[in-house]
Amino acid sequence: MAINGAAAELNIVVDDQRVRVAAGTTVAAALFNLGTAAFRRSVSGEPRGPVCGMGVCFECRVTIDSRPHQRACLIAVVDGMHIRTATEA
């Protein structure tokens, strides 16, 4: 999946806001670049963000296209994605 050359941009929706992000990034990286702090809320309501970066810790979970518990660090950003953060209970 190597995209060479110029940085393409994609349109996605994050928490009901339309944003443009660089192509060829993971959802976790894109959210990090957007300044998202709380990817999810822990069971006691704490804000949580990515920790291990490799799909092991499950802290970066967000809802993507209405599917909850998606590990943002393992998923590439796709044009038209709808991402919801800080919704895990």
Binding site: A28, F32, G49, C52, M54, G55, V56
Partner: protein, 448 residues
Amino acid sequence: MMAPLAGTDATLIVADVAIVGAGPAGIAAAVRAAESRLRVVVLDRGLETGGQIWRHMSGSPVPRIAQHWIAQLSRSGAQVIHGTSVVDVQHEDAEFEILADSSGSALRVRAGRIILATGARELFIPFDGWTLPGVMGIGGAQALLKSGASFAGKRVIVAGSGPLMLPVAASLATSGAKLILVAEQARRSAVMRFAAGLWRSPALVAQAARYRSRFLSTSYSTGTWVTAAHGADRLESVTVTDGRRTWREAVDVLCTGYGLVPNVELARLLGCETRDGAIAVDAQQRTTVANVLAVGEATGIGGAPLSLIEGEIAGSSVSPRGRVSDALLRKRAALEIAARRMLDAFALRQELRSLPTAGTIVCRCEDVSYGAVKDAACARQAKLYTRVGMGPCQGRTCMPGLDFLLAWQPDTVRPPIEPALVSVLSSELADDAAASILFNSSVGEAYQ
């Protein structure tokens, strides 16, 4: 993404060798095994080949050696399937059947041999505030960086221990982060002794110097560690100590980790013996289970060069005409010695056992505090009473730290070894399922 064959709800791949993990070790094993025209399939959780250390998404630079091996892999005839997490494996007659979640669909891989290249993950020791967004692993920061995250202009501290610290600090600094401090918990004397011993490996010395040169203006402090992180909804500052004095630093990102832990869950599910937390292997990289080999960090933390050699040895080992040169064996021996030296030098200090307070969250999945578990009679009791380790990470984040703190032994491993969709766990092949990947006709001599 692989669509299931009509009439079944799982896709079947039949191979001679199934390799789990496409990091350096898995890549080298695949290349060597495929040289003998064996049908080789490589399964990897990530989006691209390279594992953790050779991560590259569009734009990020890849070391030449990684380019070399990845190019060889793409020419080798081995099939590499990304986005694939192994959730179960069974022995069926003389064959293994792996069940994997591949981009949300069930994938079954049958092979006569398995090579485990499952790598390692970071060891985290919990401390107050470590759950704040902005506190991440050292490898975690590298992973984010290499998948497109920008740390430019951010105030960053790298603190902890282990082989990831220098390269990640270098990468972050090069990418424009304001690296304020690199804090290694090991004592200066241990680090100096280790550095002095590096005269045997001039390449390693040169590499360390190159890394260090990328953040020369940043303090590299030994015998120093972070005791707490502070902030309202995200990280704002940390408390640092050198054992004598304590001070605060304002930071945006704390990269912290205390070394690496081999990923042995799949090995243990197969019944492989482990030693010191790593998969036990012999000189041919064979585990204690017939037809299962293991390579790379999962067999003991030793770095990419060692992983490559182990992969080559295993790949040659499963090949009917594979030969391993004496030079390769000598290199492996030398790198193993160097790896052991490194692990000894950077052993974790006693003071780290006081890092968590009673209120520190130790299980991030279930929000269980240290106070709730530290007096438990055993790990199993703590799990049943508090649910520590019973969340989706299946204890991967908390248990190594709790083993360091409380000497907890790992639990029995049961499938799924990673959370799996109910649809994947309930999937079944039709009796007459045909394999949906056909290897190149020039490949595929059955292994005798």
